[in-house]
C-alpha cells in the first residue's frame, strides 16, 4: 500500500477564506476536505497518510517548510507520492500546488498537481506531472477522478499522457531528425495542402488573456502601491537586480521619502537607454505624483514599499510568477490598487 501526502489550501482544509490566507503550513493526519473523496477513490491500494495545508497568500513562498512537513510524516515505508490540489483556476493556490509538486519531485518523491490548464501557476510545475482539473470547485468530483487515476499510473510507473489529462510542460528535447528541416518543411506544406489543418512540429505557445480586476470602489480610501518592471533601484543596486533575463524581484521602502533624487536612484534596465530615467527617476516610478494625489485626497495612502523587477528578455514563466507574488503580497498587505509602470 502506497503512502500519499495531500497538499491543499486553507479554504479546502475548512479553516477559512481570505481571512485565513496568511496562515502558515500545518500538518494533519489522514485525509481532509477533498482528500476524503480522493482517499476513497485510491482505496484499497493506496492511502492518504497525511494532509498539509497552508494559507494562499504565503504558501508559494514557504515551499521548503511545506516539504519539510511532508518529509516529517511518520509512516511505515516513507512517503511514496505527493498530490497537490485540485486548484482549479485559483492563481495563488495553483502556484503553491505547482511549486510543492515540483519541489517534492526535486526531492526525489513522485509528485502530481491538479489544476485547470488556464491556471497561471501551471508553468511553475516545470516538467513535474500536472493533470487537468475543472475550471471551478463545482467540478471537484471529475477532477478528483482524474487525479486519482494519475496517482495510480504514477505509482505503477506507467506513463501519464495527454489522454490521461496531463497538461503543462513537456520539455522540448533536442534530437536529430531523419531528414533536414528543409525537407520536413516541404513535407509539412504538402500535408497541409492535403487537408490536414493542424499538423506542426511546434505547438502554438499559450499566451494568457488576463481579465482586468473590477474597478476600485473608492480610491479616496484605498491604499495604492507603486510597482515597476523598469529596473529602478537604489544607486548601488544593493540587491544585484539583473539588467536582463530577471529571475527575481526586489522591494525597497519609500514610506519615509517624498521624492526620488537623481543620483540616488538608477535604472539598471538593459533594454533601453536609461539616461532620461536616471535624470529624473520619477519617470519610472511616479512617487512624486503619488504623494501629490494622497495630499489632494485622491488616494487614501501609498503602500510603504515599491516592488521592482526588470522586464527585458524575462521569461514568461518568471514574469507570471512575479505577478502572482506581487498580487498575493499586496492583497495581504491591504493594498487595493497598484500602478504598474512599464518601459
Amino acid at each position: 500500500m502506497a503512502n500519499i501526502v495531500h497538499y491543499i489550501n486553507q479554504f479546502f482544509a475548512g479553516v477559512g477564506g481570505e481571512d485565513s490566507a496568511g496562515a502558515g503550513p500545518t500538518l494533519v493526519a489522514g485525509p481532509v476536505g477533498p482528500g476524503r473523496r480522493l482517499a476513497e477513490l485510491l482505496a484499497p491500494e493506496h492511502q492518504i497518510v497525511a494532509t498539509v495545508w497552508c494559507g494562499d497568500d504565503i504558501a508559494s513562498g514557504v515551499v521548503p517548510a511545506i516539504i519539510d512537513l511532508i518529509r516529517s510524516v511518520d509512516t511505515d515505508g516513507g512517503v511514496d507520492l505527493v498530490a497537490a490540489g485540485p486548484a482549479f483556476t485559483s492563481g495563488r493556490y495553483g502556484l503553491a500546488c505547482a511549486r510543492v509538486a515540483a519541489a517534492a519531485h526535486d526531492a526525489g518523491l513522485r509528485a502530481v498537481a491538479s489544476m485547470h490548464e488556464d491556471n497561471p501557476g501551471l508553468d511553475e510545475a516545470g516538467t513535474t506531472p500536472v493533470v487537468a482539473s475543472g475550471e471551478v470547485a463545482r467540478r471537484m468530483a471529475p477532477s478528483l477522478d482524474r487525479l486519482a487515476n494519475a496517482i495510480g499510473l504514477l505509482l505503477r510507473d506507467e506513463p501519464l499522457t495527454a489522454a490521461d489529462g496531463r497538461i503543462g510542460k513537456l520539455a522540448r528535447l533536442t534530437v536529430m531528425a531523419d531528414a533536414t528541416a528543409a525537407e520536413r518543411a516541404v513535407d509539412l506544406a504538402l500535408v497541409r495542402l492535403g487537408g490536414d489543418h493542424t499538423a506542426t512540429e511546434i505547438p502554438l505557445p499559450r499566451f494568457d488573456q488576463v481579465t482586468p480586476a473590477a474597478p476600485v470602489e473608492d480610491l479616496r480610501t484605498a491604499m495604492v502601491a507603486l510597482v515597476t518592471e523598469g529596473g529602478l533601484v537604489p544607486d548601488e543596486n544593493p540587491g544585484s537586480l539583473e539588467s536582463a533575463r530577471a529571475t527575481r524581484w526586489l522591494r525597497y521602502p519609500i514610506a519615509e521619502i517624498d521624492g526620488l533624487q537623481a543620483g540616488e536612484w538608477r535604472s539598471i534596465h538593459g533594454g533601453f537607454s536609461t539616461a532620461y530615467a536616471n535624470e529624473d527617476p520619477h519617470r519610472i516610478l511616479p512617487l512624486d505624483v503619488g504623494r501629490q494625489l494622497v495630499a489632494e485626497g485622491a488616494f487614501g495612502s501609498l503602500f510603504g514599499e515599491y516592488f521592482v523587477t526588470t522586464g527585458n528578455g524575462t521569461s514568461v514563466a518568471n514574469a507570471r510568477r512575479f505577478g502572482i507574488e506581487w498580487a498575493a503580497d499586496l492583497r495581504h498587505s491591504g493594498a487595493r490598487a497598484a500602478i504598474l509602470t512599464a518601459t
Binding site: R172, A181, S315
Partner: protein
C-alpha cells in the same frame, strides 16, 4: 532561363606557389591570395586551411563563401561586388564543392560565433564538413571598421571567384541542370519560398547586387541568382541563426523545392524580404510579400528567417498575411525554449498560420572539447577564456547550427 552547375569535388587542399586544381586537390598560392585581399583598410591578412576531423576551432567567424565562378575574372559571379551589377542566374557556374572561404576576427556588433572541425559541434555546422580557407586579418591603423568590413567582403568574394577559376578547365564531377520556376500552373501544388534577410544596419546587413537590401520591398528572385551570388551576407549577429553567403549559395529550401519540382510539387518561386527594425515596416513588408506570392501563384510558401527574437515577428506577420490570402504557410523556426527545454518556444507566434518546423533549441547546452589550435582569435569572447580550451556553450553560438534556411537535422520534440 536555366542554370547549369558544374560541380567539382575538392578532396585535398594545400598552400603552394601557384593556385591550381588538379584531381580534386586545390592548392592556393598565399602570395596570389594576399594580392587579391590587399586593401588600404587592411594592414595584413593570414591564410590557413582547416579541414574536417582536425582538432581545431574557428572563433569570431564572420562570413563564409563557396568558391564559384562563371568564367575568367569571375564571368559575372557575385554581381555588384566582383562582377558588374547585372542580373545573373543563367548559363554555367563552376562550383568548388566541399570548400569555403571563411573570414574570422573582430568586427563591431559581430557576435561570437564558432566552428569546430571535430567533436560534437562539427556535425552541427555546414563548415564542420568543408575544407575552410580561413582569412584572419589585422586592420590598418587608421581604417574605419566600415572600411575593414567592406574590404573583407569584397576580398573574400574575389578570392572565392579566383579559387574556382582554377577549375574552369577541369572535368566536373557532376553536372546539375536547374530550370527556373515556371509561372505556368499544372496539376501539382505550387510551393515557393520566402526568405527573410536580417537587414538592420551596419555589420547587420545583407546585400542584393551589391547594395544594401535594408530599405527595399520584397521581390521575386530567380533561384539561380542566389547560386551566382546576387545575395551576399554582411550580417554578423546570431551565429546559429544567421544565413552566411555560403548558405544563400546553397539555399536548402530552394534546393529541396528544385529536387521535388515536377514530382510532387511545382516550384513556384523565391521571394526575398528585408527584416526591418520597426513594427510598421515589418507589417508593410509582410503584407507586400504575401501579395507578391499571390501574384506568382503560390499555393504554399515556406517562410524562413534570420536572427533572434524580433525576427519571429516578421515570421508571424508574414505567415498570417499569407493565410489571409489563402496561401498555406510553413515557418522554419529555431526555438528558444530555455536550457531545460520548458520555456515558451517562440517569441512571437502566428495566429492563423500554425504550421511550423523546428530547427532546434537555441538554449540547448553543448560540451565542447579542448582543441589543438584555434583561428580567428586567441580568446573565446563569450566566456573570456582561451579559444582552444574545453567549455560549455549554448547551441546559439555554433555557426548555422539552427540554420533558419533548413540546412540541419537538429530539431526539438516534446518528450
Amino acid at each position: 532561363m536555366a542554370l547549369t552547375r558544374l560541380i567539382h569535388h575538392v578532396r585535398r587542399v594545400g598552400l603552394g606557389q601557384r593556385t591550381t586544381f588538379t584531381d580534386g586537390e586545390l592548392t592556393v598560392s598565399t602570395d596570389e591570395a594576399q594580392g587579391i585581399l590587399a586593401d588600404a583598410a587592411l594592414a595584413g591578412v593570414r591564410l590557413s586551411w582547416l579541414s574536417p576531423g582536425e582538432s581545431a576551432r574557428i572563433v569570431k567567424v564572420l562570413d563564409a563563401v563557396e568558391p564559384r565562378t562563371k568564367g575568367p575574372g569571375g564571368g559575372g559571379i557575385f554581381p555588384g561586388f566582383v562582377g558588374p551589377a547585372r542580373p545573373q542566374g543563367d548559363g554555367e557556374t563552376h562550383v568548388l564543392r566541399g570548400t569555403a572561404v571563411v573570414t574570422a576576427g573582430f568586427l563591431p556588433r559581430a557576435q561570437e560565433a564558432l566552428v569546430d572541425l571535430s567533436g560534437p559541434a562539427a556535425a552541427l555546422s555546414p563548415l564542420g564538413a568543408t575544407h575552410n580557407l580561413v582569412i584572419e586579418f589585422t586592420p590598418a591603423p587608421d581604417a574605419s571598421w566600415e572600411k575593414v568590413d567592406a574590404a573583407l567582403r569584397t576580398g573574400s568574394l574575389r578570392l572565392a571567384a579566383w579559387l574556382a577559376e582554377a577549375a574552369l578547365d577541369a572535368e566536373p564531377d557532376e553536372i546539375e541542370e536547374l530550370p527556373s520556376p515556371s509561372p505556368v500552373r499544372r496539376d501539382r501544388p505550387r510551393v515557393g519560398a520566402i526568405t527573410n534577410l536580417q537587414t538592420q544596419g551596419l555589420f547587420k546587413d545583407v546585400f542584393l547586387y551589391g547594395r544594401s537590401f535594408g530599405s527595399s520591398l520584397p521581390t521575386l528572385l530567380d533561384p539561380g541568382e542566389l547560386d551566382d551570388g546576387a545575395v551576399v551576407s554582411g550580417q554578423f549577429g546570431h551565429p546559429a541563426l544567421k544565413n552566411p553567403t555560403f548558405m544563400h549559395q546553397n539555399h536548402p529550401v530552394v534546393n529541396e523545392l528544385r529536387r521535388r519540382h515536377g514530382r510532387d510539387l511545382d516550384f513556384a518561386g523565391l521571394v526575398i524580404c528585408p527584416e526591418p527594425v520597426n513594427q510598421a515596416d515589418k507589417e508593410l513588408v509582410s503584407a507586400f510579400a504575401a501579395r507578391v506570392c499571390a501574384a506568382a501563384g503560390f499555393d504554399a510558401a515556406l517562410v524562413t528567417k534570420e536572427g533572434g527574437g524580433n525576427a519571429d515577428a516578421d515570421m508571424a506577420l508574414k505567415m498570417d498575411a499569407l493565410a489571409e490570402l489563402g496561401i498555406e504557410a510553413v515557418g522554419l523556426y529555431a526555438e528558444m525554449a530555455g536550457t531545460d527545454g520548458t520555456g515558451p518556444s517562440i517569441v512571437v507566434a502566428p495566429e492563423k498560420a500554425t504550421a511550423m518546423v523546428s530547427t532546434g533549441n537555441y538554449d540547448h547546452r553543448l560540451q565542447l572539447p579542448a582543441v589543438d589550435k584555434a583561428l580567428g582569435g586567441d580568446e573565446f569572447a563569450l566566456l573570456h577564456i582561451p579559444a582552444t580550451e574545453a567549455f560549455e556553450v549554448p547551441t546559439a553560438v555554433v555557426y548555422c547550427a539552427l540554420s533558419p534556411l533548413g540546412w540541419g537535422r537538429v530539431t526539438a520534440r516534446a518528450g
